[in-house]
Amino acid sequence: MSSREEILARVRKNQPASLPLPAVPMFDRHLPSLPATFKANLARMGGLYVDAPVDANLDALIRARFPDAKVICSAAPEVAGNRPIDGVREPGELDDVDVGVVRAGFGVAETGSVFLTEAQFKVNALGFLSQHLVVLLDTKDIVPNLHHAYQHRDFFEAKYAVFMTGPSATADIEGVLIRGAQGIRSLTVIPHQRSLQSCSNTSQYRPTDPGPATEV
């Protein structure tokens, strides 16, 4: 008998009598005000929120915020940067990126998180090898809590999906909080309306709205 069959047989023999699966509500009773709660929780988790005028030149804005940055690599169509991500063949090539730029699929008010997949990153390592990350977020794309967030179809279709909440952090030595552990040292969210070519939005829920496939 293979280990697989042995394990499954022993589990079947030993598992206690069936207990029911409860339904999970969406906990809509205490829904927070979306952009304000998102901003507050993002700040708590060490993220920055930088308002920009509708017609802002995002490239100029990012340059102004990171004056020492030599390499700016953008996976968002709204920002040019100076290192085209389409030319990257191996993720390790992003080792020298000072600022990475992406557009979030959506945000979560309850936690201050932004949601990203390989469709937004193009190269997943952009979100972790970069020293700093700038995330464009359409404030219409903020969902109230994680129950709503987990309805998104990307959890069924993306190969890689991640909630990023502020910069990487550690408190492993004496509980002293260090922001910028091993991944990004800062995370800046810029509210910015999604353009047509951006690929993800919160209407793409399942199962009520099957919508078009999100992978590009």
């Binding site: 499954l8 999970v24 990487s168």
Partner: protein
């Protein structure tokens, strides 16, 4: 195959009984360490309280989490098959390991067939449970633990002392010594940002050169075949998103049925663990990146046996948040290493004896049965009741240490007889007043070893009752 000397060493380690009280006395002797440890963990407990109080549906979430886990465990075989089927459909290769030895063999086979020499690894209690580090190390694989706390412990040749914060028993000056010895930092500089930055810079080249990355899992979703990893440092996502080969080791109890259940568990996990609404990074690995491979090893190692233990299968609901450790007065004042097991604290006390009853027979006594662990558990495991049940089993199977056994026998006789009891109370009161400390705090009184015996009242309840109430009729 495992060489004879390794097998021998392992069996020797397995058979030696852990003496929790003796091991913790070394930790307790270091006064600044124990005080800091106690405070730091209590601080985590208070952060957890504040964070959970902000969620009106907190208790409802706990009930849901418990019920989802109980449902899953009572249908575990079906969900394991569903997970395997969906993961396979996604291009993930699924392996099954019935014990630690098979787990390690599967891992080395995958690594060898890909010519891997360096493995970057995020924190996983499961690979500690399998003692995978020394196994791979002996076969020429360089393993880099990438979590800061876990790396400190690896460089110091110690196992993690806490499920979530592995080096919580060390002070910054200890870390400065370890790093100075191993990665060349300044031994006199114990500035925390300097130490963390040094580890960041030291570790980064390994992400770029490693041929494989490895993680554990917080959850495995049957419906999608996804592996979910909750971390803060960015190390897991660097370990997975750079090398062309990714391995995830998962205990079979980590399965949950559906994506929507993550809403419940992710809301509870980091709030219970660290008092933050979510971990900085919550990652869902469903399929390998283009041009790469993803392997999942599903490990049993005693879990399927535990599932059949009427009183103890509930411990399989555990999501490894560490809240029961942070709240436990015994854990906070004895340190995780004193348990001599991969899993320490209250949850360890009820899991470890299922691995080896003899070796871990002292652990269920490392508790005051105050029930705080049960109270904070996000999946409502009845931890303190299970601790009590283990004590009964250990006493029945004659695994009590001699001193404790003799003391219990005597206590049993005395408590069974009102006359003897009254005489004993009187004698003890008189004794405590006049005996020299050395008689009270002697090696035969295990209870007095770490504690001050409370001051005795002037009169016993019985004396008071006889004087004040009996004559009032």
């Amino acid at each position: 195959m495992e060489p004879a000397h390794e097998a021998l060493e392992r069996s020797l380690r397995m058979s030696k009984r852990v003496d929790h009280a003796e091991a913790s006395s070394r930790f307790i002797a270091a006064k600044d360490h124990i005080e800091f440890h106690d405070q730091r963990l209590w601080d985590l407990r208070q952060k957890r309280d504040r964070e959970s109080e902000e969620i009106p549906e907190w208790q409802e979430l706990r009930s849901l989490a418990s019920a989802i886990k109980e449902h899953t465990l009572t249908h575990l075989a079906d969900y394991l098959e569903q997970f395997e089927q969906n993961a396979t459909k996604n291009g993930v290769r699924v392996h099954w390991a019935k014990d630690a030895a098979e787990h390690n063999q599967i891992v080395i086979d995958i690594l060898s067939s890909h010519g891997v020499r360096t493995l970057v690894k995020s924190k996983s209690m499961l690979t500690d449970e399998c003692e995978m580090g020394p196994f791979l190390g002996n076969r020429g694989i360089e393993i880099i633990e990438t979590d800061l706390g876990e790396r400190i412990q690896q460089l110091d040749g110690e196992p993690p002392s806490h499920i979530v914060v592995p080096a919580v028993h060390k002070l910054r000056t200890d870390v400065a010594q370890v790093f100075a010895r191993t990665i060349g930092t300044d031994p006199k500089n114990s500035d925390v940002p300097y130490l963390a930055e040094s580890q960041r810079r030291h570790t980064r080249p390994y992400y770029l050169k490693a041929e494989a990355g490895m993680t554990g899992a917080n959850f495995a979703v049957a419906e999608t075949g996804s592996v979910v990893v909750c971390t803060n440092e960015g190390n897991a996502d660097l370990s997975v998103n750079l090398p062309k080969l990714y391995l995830a080791s998962i205990g079979i109890e980590k399965i949950i049925p559906r994506v929507e259940h993550l809403g419940v568990f992710v809301r509870l996990l980091s709030r219970s663990a660290l008092g933050s609404p979510i971990t900085q990074i919550t990652s869902h690995f469903r399929a390998p990146r283009d041009g790469t491979e993803m392997h999942v090893v599903l490990l049993d190692n005693g879990r399927s046996e535990r599932l059949g233990m009427a009183d103890f299968w509930y411990s399989l609901k555990c999501i490894r948040c560490g809240a029961c450790l942070n709240t436990c007065p015994v854990y906070r004042r004895s340190g995780g290493l004193s348990y001599g097991a991969t899993y320490s604290g209250p949850i360890g006390v009820i899991i470890d004896p299922t691995f080896n009853l003899r070796k871990y027979s002292s652990l269920p006594f490392a508790s005051t049965l105050n029930g705080s662990c049960t109270h904070v558990c996000p999946v409502k495991i009845n931890i303190h009741e299970q601790i009590f049940k283990w004590r009964q089993i250990i006493a029945e199977r004659n695994q009590l240490p001699m001193v404790k056994k003799e003391a219990m026998k005597m206590a049993g006789k005395v408590l069974a007889s009102p006359m003897l009891y009254r005489a004993a109370v009187k004698a003890a009161n008189a004794g405590l007043e006049y005996l020299p400390r050395s008689m009270v705090y002697n090696p035969l009184n295990a209870w007095g070893r770490q504690r001050e015996v409370p001051k005795t009242p002037g009169t016993t309840f019985r004396e008071w009752y006889l004087k004040n109430r009996r004559n009032k009729k």
